[in-house]
């Protein structure tokens, strides 16, 4: 029998090392692993790098809490509310090293990471000024397709040290299921060196057997830790269980714009989990 991987949020946070590259599940206001992010803010972990396609709330909170030294994302936005308040401030003041990416490239990099290959070619992109930025950083290159001799962009493999993924259900070993929108989460699980699953519900084998025509989002082969975390995405949504709490997100946005993000985080996010 495999060993149970169930642990507490704090024990899971200890799997992260200072300086690690992390990625989180979801998108802007959807399925972010917020209970874990609260635990990470509560810890003494620091100097983390962050990669994701289109992050929002979770990223801004981590930035406000000064946990990140580097951010790589295709877009960081609070959408209708405005620019991601703490990310914008940190990037403009150079408190964080911000590398803009583009969706197709982030996906390609994670694909390479998931497949254990050094890079992945991707269409489009050529002509964007982002190419120069990434060539300098050694994250993209333009090469000649060896078969046609045409120019094509290649993306260096993205292998996060830790992926933290909030799912609908998991067993104690990390066999998990995400319902509805999946974004890049299944690629992140496969690309990362360590995977921490936080789950709305811990289920037994019999429950998974009932769903055995569905594909697992992660298997015990991918996962390092499993944390039981009901409502763990709040205030982001967990479709189809609960909606985004736009009132809370709007309040945070206003606090953060006034430079009081940590006040909101302490009084709301931390109080909920500690």
């Amino acid at each position: 029998m495999p060993t149970s991987k169930i642990m507490s949020l704090n024990e899971a946070v200890d799997l992260i090392n200072n300086g690690d590259l992390i990625t989180i599940s979801g998108m802007t206001f959807f399925r972010n692993p917020m209970s874990f992010i609260a635990a990470l803010i509560n810890s003494n972990k620091k100097d983390l790098s962050f990669v994701d396609r289109e992050p929002g709330f979770g990223l801004d909170v981590l930035t406000a809490a000064n946990k990140l030294k580097m951010i790589r994302a295709a877009m960081a936005t609070f959408e209708h509310f405005g620019l991601s308040p703490s990310v914008r401030k940190a990037a403009e003041r150079k408190q964080v090293d911000y590398l803009e990416d583009t969706c197709g490239a982030v996906i390609a990099g994670l694909r390479a990471g998931a497949q254990g290959v050094p890079f992945m070619p991707v269409r489009g992109i050529i002509g964007s000024d982002l190419v120069k930025i990434h060539e300098k950083r050694n994250t993209w290159k333009i090469i000649k397709d060896p078969f046609t001799n045409e120019d094509i962009v290649i993306i260096k493999s993205i292998e996060p040290d830790v992926a933290i993924i909030h799912v609908h259900m998991s067993d104690e070993y990390g066999n998990s299921v995400i319902l509805g929108p999946k974004y890049e989460d299944e690629l992140k699980i496969r690309a990362a060196k360590k995977v921490i699953i936080t789950a709305e519900k811990i289920v037994d084998k019999e429950e998974l057997k009932k769903r055995n025509t569905e594909q697992l989002s992660s298997t015990l082969l991918h996962v390092t830790a499993v944390v039981n975390s009901k409502n763990g995405a709040w205030p982001t949504a967990m479709y189809p269980i609960y909606e985004a709490d736009y009132k809370a997100i709007g309040d945070y946005y206003n606090y953060a714009k006034e430079g009081k993000a940590m006040e909101w985080i302490s009084n709301n996010l931390m109080k909920r989990w500690y």
């Binding site: 620019l83 403009e92 803009e100 969706c103 999946k182 890049e184």
Partner: protein
């Protein structure tokens, strides 16, 4: 009836959707989301509705806007989830017909900037980022851009080309700009004024740029105010007028 520029922009954005098109909208795309509803329910276009929210074949009758256009609760009546990864692979194979992009700056060659105002390494304003712009801009058949008609936006040369318009224009890919004053098409000759929104004249359009020279042909159309039925369709999906908070008038 509504002559508000926001509503006429939605009509303008929706008018480029054709039957059988595979159409996709991204994050922070309230006007495109409503334009897709308008194209389906008013123009009766039979197209494939998909978005960054990931529901596939959404029922436009059941769209209800929210502060995020990535919200799966806002696009109900779909048949299943299809990921953005899949959507972008479809685009890479040349099968995405229409995508919408917002922008902070656009220039005469249809280069768009969503990255930074000022220098990338030392930005005056750090913008949210181009999301899929750099990736999809060279490969999607029709790109429809929406932006504020403002000298800071319609410029001679963008500070940073997140999306490269020159490649699009050279490859004869349709590239359209709907502002809150006008409809402009980018061509090898430059940006051409195709229509003004009702309530604006040509001079207000061409003089209100930050160096972008807009070519005015002999015939310039007017995009009219919305009739009752058009407005009713948009109001049903946005009963609280969230779209007006985007500040396009």
């Amino acid at each position: 009836m509504s002559a508000r520029p926001t509503d006429i922009m939605i009509k303008c954005l929706g008018s480029f959707i054709e039957d059988k098109d595979y159409v996709y909208h991204g994050l922070d795309s309230l006007l495109p989301q409503l334009a897709m509803v308008y194209a389906s329910l008013y123009l009766k276009k039979d197209f494939i509705y998909h978005s960054v929210a990931e529901p596939f074949l959404t029922d436009p009758n059941q769209v209800m806007v929210r502060p995020s256009t990535g919200d799966p609760y806002s696009e109900q009546g779909n048949i299943a989830t299809v990921t953005t990864i899949d959507a972008f692979d479809i685009a890479a194979k040349g099968k995405m017909d229409l995508m919408y992009f917002g922008t902070a700056q656009i220039d005469e060659e249809a280069n768009i900037n969503l990255t930074a105002i000022g220098n990338y390494d030392n930005p005056k304003v750090k913008l949210p980022g181009g999301a899929a712009t750099a990736y999809l801009y060279p490969i999607v058949k029709k790109i429809i851009i929406w932006a504020r008609h403002d000298p800071r936006v319609l410029v001679k040369k963008v500070d940073f080309a997140t999306g490269n318009g020159t490649t699009r224009i050279n490859n004869n890919l349709k590239t359209i700009l709907c502002t809150n004053k006008a409809l402009i098409e980018f061509t090898k000759k430059g940006p051409i004024l195709k229509a003004v929104l009702q309530g604006f004249n040509i001079d207000q359009v061409v003089s209100n740029t930050g160096g972008m020279k807009i070519i005015v042909p002999e015939k310039v159309d007017t995009i009219n105010a919305l009739n009752e039925e058009e407005l009713k369709i948009i109001n049903k999906a946005d009963p609280n007028g969230l779209r007006y908070e985007e500040n396009y008038g």
